[in-house]
């Protein structure tokens, strides 16, 4: 059966999404070519590779890469595949190395990705031109607030412009403290049988599901009341999104600090820490952002951040029907160990592969994927129209905003998604 055109998959206001968007192998190939190969993709946080030789291995969509700090102290991103026979040259999740060595014939590469040694070379009479046999480099690399992004698209706009007004919101966490933030430990990784866009759209601003899917823990809590009163979702630039609570002016500090308030209330020291930090935050980010309690963030296409539980995450696609979800813990660098431990508990108990809330999200995404894969539903697309038309500009914060249950964040994502697929298909048509 022929895959429908992008305008049939997502209607003009993106209130209706055809189900094969989440299941089709052909659409997934389009996404690889026209979205993942063309966008800025999140790779790592600079705190993970502070010293020359430090590296982590990760993926750009399904493509394995090494993100390393070179001897020149700059960040280098190489494809993890030997130029000779294609084997991975780096086989650990993280570490510090002088050389990456391919197991097969022991070709070795510098951490910057240059081919250093071909052991067979001295046994041959014909020379090997090593200069053009380095590891393939990711052509564009840039950082914002320590967040390292890479792109396969040499012509892509600057990361600064790509993020646009999302930067104003990213500052809230990544430029929040005088001492900065750090990512501690390896990523928690787990597989979910779901399409990659489902966790992404959840983190873009679907806070409305909280009291329902997570009702066993959240229903009837003051946090939910606060969310429904002061919460909304924001689209600073189509494709990116976030959800937050903007507390009214002159709210007491206890009502404004961070967003781990439910858990902080249980611990005096954390409570005190958050109050002190709130003063620092007002100084650094100003009064308006001092009243903002952010919830979830999404940067197009697959980087997410869950504010109140200190986790940054990447949705790595593994085909159209599975993801490998990666979640890292991020925390203020100079926070006392006791505070860090408490915030860590606030991450792992609720989120990550063992989290009581996260397990329910995984359930929803895999069940939505099941619902997208059934036959005879071509005329029954999924409905993304809640709140359409009531979104507006806000006087205090940048971007388009919608009420807590407005699905603006998802519509703007799928409009951008459709536009990227259309552009890609069009360009291919012209090439033919």
């Amino acid at each position: 059966m022929k895959t429908p055109l992008p305008q049939q998959l997502v209607n003009d206001d993106a209130s209706l999404i055809r189900r094969e968007v989440f299941t089709s192998t052909e659409i997934y190939q389009w996404e690889k070519q026209f979205i993942f190969a063309r966008s800025w993709l999140f790779l790592a946080h600079e705190s993970q590779i502070p010293n020359p030789g430090d590296y982590i291995t990760t993926y750009m969509c399904e493509t394995p890469v090494i993100v390393a700090r070179g001897e020149d102290k700059k960040i280098h991103v190489s494809l993890n595949s030997c130029s000779h026979r294609g084997l991975p040259v780096c086989r650990a999740d993280r570490g510090n190395a002088k050389r990456f060595i391919c197991p097969y014939h022991n070709w070795s590469y510098t951490v910057e990705g240059a081919l250093h040694t071909v052991p067979q070379e001295k046994k041959l009479t014909a020379p090997v031109d090593k200069t053009c046999l380095g590891l393939k480099q990711v052509p564009r690399i840039n950082s914002y607030c320590g967040l390292i992004f890479g792109s396969f698209n040499e012509e892509i706009e600057s990361l600064h412009d790509y993020l646009g007004d999302m930067r104003w919101y990213l500052d809230c966490m990544f430029d929040r403290y005088n001492s900065g933030v750090e990512v501690i430990g390896s990523a928690h990784k787990w597989r979910i049988n779901a399409n990659w866009k489902l966790p992404v759209e959840n983190q873009l601003g679907d806070v409305g599901h909280g009291p329902y899917l997570h009702g066993s823990l959240l229903k009837g809590t003051p946090q939910v009341d606060e969310l429904e009163t002061f919460g909304f979702n924001v689209v600073p630039k189509p494709g990116h999104g976030l959800a937050l609570r903007l507390m009214p002016e002159n709210s007491p500090v206890e009502k404004c600090m961070w967003g781990t308030d439910g858990m902080a209330a249980m611990d005096k020291e954390v409570n005190q820490y958050l109050i002190e930090k709130h003063r620092e935050v007002e100084e650094r980010l100003g009064k308006v952002r001092g009243r903002m309690k952010c919830l979830t963030y999404g940067v197009y296409p697959n980087f997410s951040f869950l504010w109140g539980n200190n986790t940054i995450r990447i949705t790595h696609p593994r085909g159209p029907s599975q993801i490998e979800y990666w979640s890292w813990w991020v925390v203020e660098k100079n926070a006392p160990d006791y505070i860090k431990r408490k915030l860590r508990e606030n991450y792992t108990f609720f989120f990550g592969p063992g989290g009581v809330l996260e397990q329910e999200d995984a359930e929803a995404w895999s069940q939505q994927h099941k619902g997208s894969a059934i036959d005879f539903m071509d005329s029954t697309p999924l409905y993304y129209g809640l709140g359409a038309g009531d979104e507006q500009k806000h006087t205090e914060i940048p971007g388009l905003t919608g009420s807590c249950f407005n699905e603006l964040y998802a519509r703007e994502f799928y409009k951008k998604w459709r536009s990227d697929i259309e552009k890609g298909l069009h360009a291919q048509g012209l090439q033919k």
């Binding site: 597989r191 899917l213 160990d337 792992t348 397990q359 359930e363």
Partner: protein, 182 residues
């Protein structure tokens, strides 16, 4: 090793596994000390240390958990829980709208290789292996394989679980949740 002790430890583990497979979570809670420390460290593919080659330390598993097994380690485990957390999980599972427990999973825990590693006055250290088969909905089926490093507190007739460290054999967990009672 004290064979009488093993004769008492084995039934404790078989009973625990049966209570969990039968979803008698409140009865399972009664097997825990109220001071329980329950952790599931995260594992990663570690870069081996050339300086340790030719020794068993070269292949030491602990490096795959980085500092999580140490008292003051700061890297985040997958789970780091006390009695309260486990109690919340149990209470939650009995609610109609706990969507990951309703309908409930069908599980089977195969506990083997039960080994008393050391015995102290009030406690014993016991290692065991577990294979957990998990089946939910129509055919969402997963396997979990792990070692448990437990500290059991001696009681007049049996034991209470004082500490459990669950060492999963996966780096990438191949199931949607590690929020089970392992």
């Amino acid at each position: 090793m004290n064979s009488e002790l093993i004769m008492k430890v084995n039934p404790f583990y078989y009973r625990e596994a049966r209570l969990l497979d039968e979803r008698c979570y409140q009865q399972w809670l009664a097997l825990l000390s109220d001071k329980i420390e329950y952790t599931v460290p995260a594992r990663h593919v570690a870069q081996l240390d050339n300086a340790k080659r030719e020794t068993e330390a070269f292949l030491n598993r602990e490096q795959e958990f980085s500092n999580q097994l140490l008292e003051n380690g700061m890297e985040p485990p997958i789970r780091d829980e006390k009695y309260l957390h486990l109690m919340i999980r149990v209470m939650r599972s009995l609610k109609m709208i706990a969507w990951t427990e309703n309908p409930p999973a069908r599980t089977r825990r195969f506990v083997s290789n039960i080994e008393i590693v050391s015995e102290k006055e009030n406690t014993i250290d016991v290692y065991s292996n577990t294979l957990l088969y998990y089946s939910r909905h129509e055919h969402d089926n997963y396997l979990y394989s792990y070692q448990r490093q437990d500290v059991l507190e001696k009681q007049p007739t049996d034991f209470r679980l004082l500490k459990r460290v669950v060492l999963l054999d996966n780096v990438v967990i191949n199931s949607p949740s590690a929020g089970l009672f392992f």
